[in-house]
């Protein structure tokens, strides 16, 4: 007789869901997704009425016409996969990452200057954390070179590394971008390693020559853009208040037409009054031709005029669901739909990630400002409070450890019972700081929304796995874009 047979079984920690007429479960402590057959579902429904000993459980199953041997085997399988558990569930502590965690991506803020004055900007707006006073406005080549060397040196063991150019408006310092691409490509080649580049821009300064350079060097481009003219021009304005749509639209079309080496994506900031997700998506995808469009609600303290209230968010989610249904239809036909919010989540579900931290900030990713100050990510660049050192002097390991310690899922009490924590891990450090004044605070204002969205994406994942599993293989190499 084995020890398992004297114990009392309870349900493990999982989130059940249904898709395409089949039953699935998302096993929370692992991030694993299983399709279960009716027998497994029967055990879970029995245990949902309360704990049962091995004998009771087997007894109830044999009453339901399971042969004794089949019932034992079924219970053993669920027990071994930890779908049902026998001990008090003690959350196994996630290990802290090693202190010499190798860098993978560096975000270089080439300038903190911008030619637009978007009211909600996290770098210049009311909720900004940056303190750029007295610091350089444009990065110089010496700092840029040091940053590239820093990335290559701190990423030992990685075959491929990545640089994202950021701003301010990135293209206001295009001459430096050109030089960095050349320098970094040469240095990486010398070491026999791969490096690739991407940039985020508002699109106003794109020229045919710049587009050609970006295409030739396979620089991925994300355009920050909020939609058709009436929505784009609401908050994405020049300093004189004039909207930016008419300047950007022709440049974006030229970019999409002539940059053929990487997919071009749009990144939309949702604000009060700019929540017509479906209309925005159609315009950016169908009228302008972006390959992918991703949406994120604005990061702001709740009392700003452009903040989306709770009811606004419900509306956003309804529109997300419309696009999510479309995404599934496309996927079942084997086509990519272009709604990044689904693709990014599916990519993480495919891997089965179980995060200790919400993102790679201060781990595999860091930001560098024009002054050479190192920040956990681009959103904290130029902030004295959050600086993790300087490119000239290296990373302040104590500050880095403090940042990571605060952001660790084990230190977020509210997240302990949430089934969506393997993907969310409490949400964006920067958003948390703006809302709660602490980078390690869970983003409680969007918990319901995250759970709803994760459930939606799980059901899409389940339906695809049942009806067109080959489609999921497209995600084998894809990483989430953020």
């Amino acid at each position: 007789m084995t020890a398992t047979q004297t114990c009392t079984y309870r349900l493990g920690e999982f989130h059940p869901f249904e898709a395409g007429g089949r039953q699935f479960l998302y096993l929370v402590p692992a991030g694993a997704i299983f399709e279960m057959d009716p027998s497994a579902a029967a055990v879970l429904s029995l245990l949902s009425e309360g704990a049962a000993t091995h004998e009771e459980l087997i007894g109830k199953l044999t009453q339901r016409d399971f042969a004794y041997h089949d019932a034992t085997e079924l219970v053993q399988e669920l027990f071994r996969a930890r779908v049902i558990v026998a001990t008090d569930s003690i959350q196994e502590p996630l290990e802290a990452p090693p202190s010499d965690f190798p860098l993978q991506s560096l975000v270089m803020n080439l300038t903190n200057q911008c030619n637009l004055s978007c009211q909600y900007c996290y770098e210049f707006g009311d909720d900004k954390v940056a303190t750029p006073e007295g610091k350089p406005k444009f990065m110089d080549m010496a700092t840029a070179k040091a940053s590239v060397d820093f990335l290559l040196e701190q990423s030992s063991g990685r075959k491929a590394v990545h640089i994202t150019f950021f701003g301010g408006e990135t293209l206001m310092n295009f001459p430096l971008l050109e030089q960095v691409v050349k320098y970094a490509s040469r240095r990486a080649a010398e070491q026999g390693r791969q490096i690739d580049f991407s940039l985020t821009t508002n699109g106003t300064l794109l020229t045919p020559a710049i587009i050609e350079f970006l295409s030739q060097n396979r620089v991925g481009v994300t355009v920050s853009m909020d939609g058709p003219p009436d929505l784009q021009d609401k908050l994405r304005v020049f300093a004189n208040g004039k909207g930016s749509y008419d300047i950007i639209a022709p440049r974006v079309k030229a970019l999409i037409q002539n940059h053929r080496t990487r997919p071009i994506t749009a990144r939309v900031t949702l604000t009060k009054g700019v929540t017509d997700v479906v209309r925005i998506f159609r315009h950016l995808k169908d009228d302008l031709g972006f390959h992918e469009v991703g949406f994120a609600p604005v990061t702001t303290s709740p009392d700003r005029l452009y903040a989306i209230g709770e009811r606004g968010m419900d509306g956003v989610l309804e529109e997300f669901h419309i696009l999510a249904d479309e995404y599934l239809e496309y996927a079942l036909r084997g086509e990519m739909h272009g709604f990044s919010n689904v693709s990014d989540t599916i990519a993480e579900l495919y891997q089965g990630v179980n995060k200790s931290h919400p993102c790679g900030a201060a781990l595999g990713l860091m930001g560098v400002g024009p002054s050479g100050d190192i920040a956990p990510c681009h959103r904290f660049v130029d902030s004295d409070t959050h600086s993790l050192g300087n490119i000239a002097t290296g990373v302040d390991r104590a500050k880095q450890a403090d940042f990571l310690n605060r952001g660790h899922i084990n230190n977020k009490y509210d997240c302990r019972t949430c089934w969506a924590r393997p993907l969310c891990a409490g949400g964006c450090h920067h958003e948390a700081f703006v809302r709660y004044g602490d980078t390690g605070h869970p983003n409680l204002h969007y918990c319901d929304w995250i759970r709803d969205w994760t459930d939606t994406c799980l059901r899409i994942f389940g339906a695809i796995s049942a009806q067109n599993p080959e489609f999921l293989e497209k995600f084998a190499e894809r990483k989430a874009l953020n």
Binding site: A32, I33, F34, D37, L74, E77, L349, Q351
Partner: protein
């Protein structure tokens, strides 16, 4: 696994671990081996139940299973009426007071056919 179908990468890893538990531990198991089958004790001598053997010192103290346990090798896994009572028809309860053979073998009932 028969009842759970792994549909993401992490689930496939769990599937691998769980399936590995079913395979028996065999010598040199890291060698590329033909598919492992579970060890089913059928009969006595071929199963090498330690009760029929001695340990390296010629005694029974160092066997990998307690010598008393071999009573059940004649009880459940094979039918050998010469050694143990007929538990299928006439004496189904003869070992009911003997939960762990090593400890409780003295409680085995005597049988008077």
């Amino acid at each position: 696994m028969r009842h759970l179908k792994a549909i993401n990468k992490k689930a496939r890893r769990i599937d691998g671990l769980v399936s590995a538990m079913d395979a028996d531990v065999v010598a040199l198991q890291n060698q590329p081996a033909p598919q492992q089958r579970p060890h089913v004790p059928m009969g006595c001598a071929l199963a090498f139940s330690p009760g029929w053997e001695v340990d390296s010192a010629g005694g029974t103290a160092g066997l990998c299973q307690p010598v008393e346990r071999d009573i059940y090798d004649c009880y459940v896994t094979c039918f050998w009426p010469a050694q143990v009572p007929d538990h299928l028809n006439n004496y189904p309860d003869w070992a009911s007071k003997c939960a762990a053979a090593t400890k409780d073998w003295r409680n085995l009932d005597l049988v008077f056919p």
